[in-house]
């Protein structure tokens, strides 16, 4: 247990190992560990950002969905009112058309009736004269009684 030159030998050995560790071991491991730390930190940051993006995309999608629903219901509402309007218009048109047809028919009937009356009036004079001739068994000059005949016919 005496002190001897081992003291020097161990000191030199110690210095060499420390130098080797400082030069060829510590820096490489330190660099690798720092780089990994940075990579992990960057990954965590990226995943956080992605989370935030996802959340904002979800809210975006929600609001857009709501807007689309609103628009769709507005369109449906519009279409419904347009349809109602069209039906009303069609009804009006149909009613007018029917009225027009009815009016035309009435006008035609009136016309026919007038024509029939005119014809009847023409026939009445002849029939009256013929009947009167039979009654008095003589010819009657129609022109002498024209005023009375016209008056009679117009009473029809």
């Amino acid at each position: 247990m005496n002190l001897n030159a081992t003291l020097l030998g161990q000191s030199i050995t110690f210095a060499i190992f420390v130098w080797f560790c400082m030069k060829y071991i510590w820096p490489m491991l330190g660099t690798a560990m720092r780089e990994r730390q940075e990579a992990i930190a960057a990954g965590l940051r990226a995943s956080e950002e992605a989370d935030q993006k996802l959340a904002s995309a979800a809210t975006n999608a929600e609001s857009e969905m709501a807007a689309a629903k609103e628009e769709a219901s507005a369109i449906i509402e519009q279409a419904r009112s347009r349809a109602n309007q069209m039906v009303e218009e069609a009804k009006d048109e149909a009613r007018q058309e029917g009225q027009r047809i009815l009016d035309a028919a009435k006008a035609e009937i009136d016309q026919e009736m007038n024509r029939a009356k005119e014809a009847l009036r023409a026939d009445v004079a002849a029939l009256v004269i013929a009947g009167a001739e039979r009654v008095i068994e003589d010819n009657i000059d129609a022109s002498k009684h024209d005023t009375m005949l016209t008056k009679l016919a117009s009473e029809l």
């Binding site: 247990m1 001897n4 161990q10 000191s11 050995t13 420390v18 560790c21 400082m22 490489m28 491991l29």
Partner: protein, 282 residues
Amino acid sequence: MSSGTKTTADYIQHHLTNLTYGQLPDGSWGFAHSAEEAAQMGFWSINVDSMAWSIGLGLVFTLFFRRAAAHATAGVPGGLQNFVEMIVEFIDETTQSIFQHKNDLIAPLAMTIFVWVFLMNLMDLVPVDWLPELAVLLGVSHMKVVPSTDPNITMAMALTVFMLILYYSVKCKGAMGFIKELTLHPFPSLAAIPVNFVLEFVSLIAKPLSLGLRLFGNMYAGEMIFILIALMFGGGVAFFIFGGVLQWVWAVFHVLVITLQAFIFAVLTIVYLAQAHETEEH
């Protein structure tokens, strides 16, 4: 015990003697045959077993860690890299919590001390007879396998740390600043210089002494107890079983001790060097 002809004292003595190479009494160079002969060799002799185990374990440390460092990637680390990085991170955190200055030497120094001293201490857990008896079979008379039970080894490391303390003290505080710290502290008066110097000088010298002797003392005592427990194996079946249990208990306890001692050596080195970098008055 190797043979029945040896006495207990011989057995212990054999375990505590280094394989020392130096100048023999007859003037030739060779290995000492006993502790007395080794002592007579004086300073210019060398404990070959301590040096060989120390260098071998240092190589184990550097080669393993160098392998991890050479293949270090920032990607997913493999088993070896993971293990090495765990130690690097542990040392780095410890260093940063104690040492606030900028110095690229401190952390690698602390890691070398921690791992190397740990490996040297770890040799204490190898059953005390295995390697020395193997050495005897191979024709080597003595073999102390735990380098940290050799005061030369622990004091050499402590003194190297002491050199760094002196170097950084002078470098950071300046020669005058360092002398002032030794003479005008803790009592800042001219009359108190002798008292201050004695106090500060003792505390300065105490650093390497306590650093080296603490490790040596702990490991030497631990080794001694392993040797004493090993003596029981020759005392019959009951003693054999009792010794086996004791050895197991002491080894489990020693796992804590060797780690703690390696950690204390590394941390105190960082603390002392941090103090050497401290420039402001306190």
